[in-house]
């Protein structure tokens, strides 16, 4: 037999091949990809057409007056980055891990668990960035993002996605059945509703304010709201640090656990 023509892809970015696999699957399901833009836009529309008519303008801490839609839109940006990346990292990974056995096949090749985790993460963040770019463009079109800082919106979505995808993937390795995902819903929905998304932090009782500030989505909202309103502050750096640390810890745990689960 001829000398082996295979170069072990070690030392290169092996995870890219998993990204390619996901791209191939998605290319055929382009309708799913395209309609993914829809959900946050619909929320934005319903707030603009509906709730804004019922609520007065908001005054930011620095004195700027913004409409209610301008206040909520960046929160929608952050929340949809959270939802999208969590969906991929929890349901998506669980399905491939337990039912499709995609990773069993992948690990029979030179790829390692860390390549699997990083590959899924990168794919999820690519999508988050694309959706966020479309959302920011839509905001600009509606006059909801006047600041040039808003151009960094997709980057903020990537940071938020990184935090939630890392943590979500780590948690997924402990999931036993689909019913366990109720816990994720139970964690995500309060965050979605109470992370200064629909009304500002000072509205909460003192103790609750502390609690809200501990949640990752709150920091995501701070980051996005700073960018789209142009009210840049130091708390945004804190937010980036918080989210980056959360994602990194999650990713590290996910790599270890995936290795333990798949390489038994």
């Amino acid at each position: 037999m001829a000398a082996p023509a295979v170069r072990p892809p070690l030392g290169r970015f092996a995870a890219q091949h998993l990204v390619e696999r996901n791209y191939l699957v998605y290319r055929r399901d382009w309708v799913v990809f395209v309609t993914g833009f829809l959900e946050p836009l619909l929320y934005l529309l319903s707030i603009g057409l509906g709730i804004q008519q019922l609520v007065d303008d908001f005054v930011l801490p620095d004195g700027t007056r913004i409409s209610y839609t301008e206040f909520v839109a960046p929160a929608m940006l952050a929340a949809s980055a959270m939802n999208g990346s969590l969906f991929d990292a929890t349901f998506g990974v669980f399905f491939k891990l337990k039912y499709e056995k995609v990773y069993d096949a992948v690990l029979a090749t030179p790829l390692r668990p860390v390549d699997v985790a990083v590959g899924e993460l990168v794919w999820s963040l690519l999508r988050a960035a694309i959706y966020a770019a479309a959302f920011v463009a839509f905001m600009a079109l509606l006059g909801l993002a006047e600041s040039w800082w808003a151009l960094l919106g997709p980057l903020a979505a990537v940071v938020i996605g990184y935090a939630f995808a890392g943590a979500g993937m780590a948690l997924t390795t402990w999931m036993r059945s689909w019913q366990d995902f109720d816990f994720i819903t139970l964690a995500v929905l309060p965050m979605f509703l109470f992370s200064a998304t629909f009304f500002p932090l000072d509205r909460y009782p003192d103790a609750a304010q502390w609690l809200v500030q501990l949640t990752p989505l709150y920091h995501g909202v701070v980051l996005c709201r700073g960018l789209t309103t142009g009210a840049i502050g130091l708390e945004m750096l804190v937010a980036v640090g918080y989210l980056a640390v959360m994602g990194t810890i999650g990713l590290a745990v996910a790599c270890r656990r995936l290795g333990a689960l798949l390489l038994r």
């Binding site: 295979v6 170069r7 696999r21 499709e100 029979a108 030179p110 790829l111």
Partner: protein
């Protein structure tokens, strides 16, 4: 045989999952170019051994070298030169038949044109070219297995590992798969397979080990194992329902050895016809009588006291 280079060398290899010991100290050497089999019933420790050799399951004890490397440290390097066809198909149901090969090939670091060329060759080899665009879920069990074999060959592996390759396939699909594996062997690919089918082991393996409850109970070529652990022929006798034990005592002396199974008696002897005749002359009238050559099934029965089907 293609030289003496050992592709797999295991010494005292063990694997436990918690308190359960699946593999309890086995010694195996697989040489380049041979077709080597693990024969044993379900749960004997075959799959655990295969997973350790495939570098996806760290051994709990003993030493293991695969392609001259340590699977714990050099997993990716070893896996890049192996082909693995697992017991349960792990095909990607979100991709088409051909895409399964393309994507998998990319995991080995092959270039796109190279993968495309090999994918088309392999689809022809397993006779799936006309289904290239089909979705995996539309394939029957036999076609899926053929695709899995094609996928495991995408990196032109030096050793192809097959775990129960024909379990669950109909006879036609089995024979087609056997034919393809035989061709690979002719081309010099080392085959390592597990099976609980005797005929499969006899058809495909140059050498095999019989494994039971995590230990090796015999080793050799199929013919050698039959020679060493069974008689040349077997006379199978079926009587009415409940009198097997009584009959057994009366005909014990007719052969070298006798086994009582729930539905029949097996008398091991060099001349099976002579046994059958002696039974009739002794005034016994079995419902049916069959004389056949010994198989690996008989070897297994002799070595473990159990039939493989159990």
């Amino acid at each position: 045989m293609g030289g003496d280079e050992a592709l797999v060398e295991a010494r005292g290899l063990r694997k436990s999952y918690g308190a359960v010991e699946a593999v309890r100290g086995i010694d195996v050497t697989v040489r380049r170019g041979e077709a080597f089999g693990f024969l044993g019933p379900n749960g004997a420790g075959k799959s655990s051994t295969m997973r350790m050799i495939a570098a996806v399951s760290p051994p709990s004890g003993g030493t293991l070298r695969v392609l001259g490397m340590d699977p714990t440290d050099d997993g990716p390097a070893i896996r890049s030169r192996l082909g693995v066809c697992p017991q349960e198909d792990t095909l990607d149901s979100e991709l088409t038949v051909r895409e399964n090969l393309l994507v998998y090939g990319r995991f080995f670091g092959l270039s796109r044109p190279e993968v495309a060329r090999r994918a088309d060759e392999l689809l022809a080899f397993v006779q799936l070219s006309d289904r290239a665009g089909a979705r995996v879920e539309q394939l029957s069990g036999g076609l899926k297995r053929r695709l899995t074999v094609a996928r495991s060959l995408i990196n032109e592996p030096e050793m192809l590992m097959l775990d129960e390759p024909t379990t669950g396939l109909d006879p036609q699909a089995r024979h087609l798969l056997w034919d393809r594996l035989f061709r690979l062997k002719q081309q010099g690919t080392t085959l390592l397979l597990t099976t609980h089918y005797m005929d499969e082991a006899e058809q495909l393996c140059d050498r095999l080990v019989v494994i039971d409850e995590g230990v090796i109970v015999a080793e050799g070529s199929p013919a050698q194992l039959i020679r060493d652990h069974s008689s040349r022929e077997v006379c199978e006798l079926r009587f009415g329902a409940d009198d097997h034990q009584g009959v057994a005592e009366r005909i014990q002396h007719l052969g070298e050895r006798l086994e009582v199974l729930p539905d029949r008696l097996l008398v091991y002897a060099a001349d099976g016809e002579a046994v059958a005749q002696a039974v009739h002359e002794g005034g016994l009238t079995p419902r049916s009588t069959l004389v056949r050559r010994s198989t690996l099934e008989d070897v297994f029965l002799h070595l473990t006291g159990r039939s493989l089907a159990e």
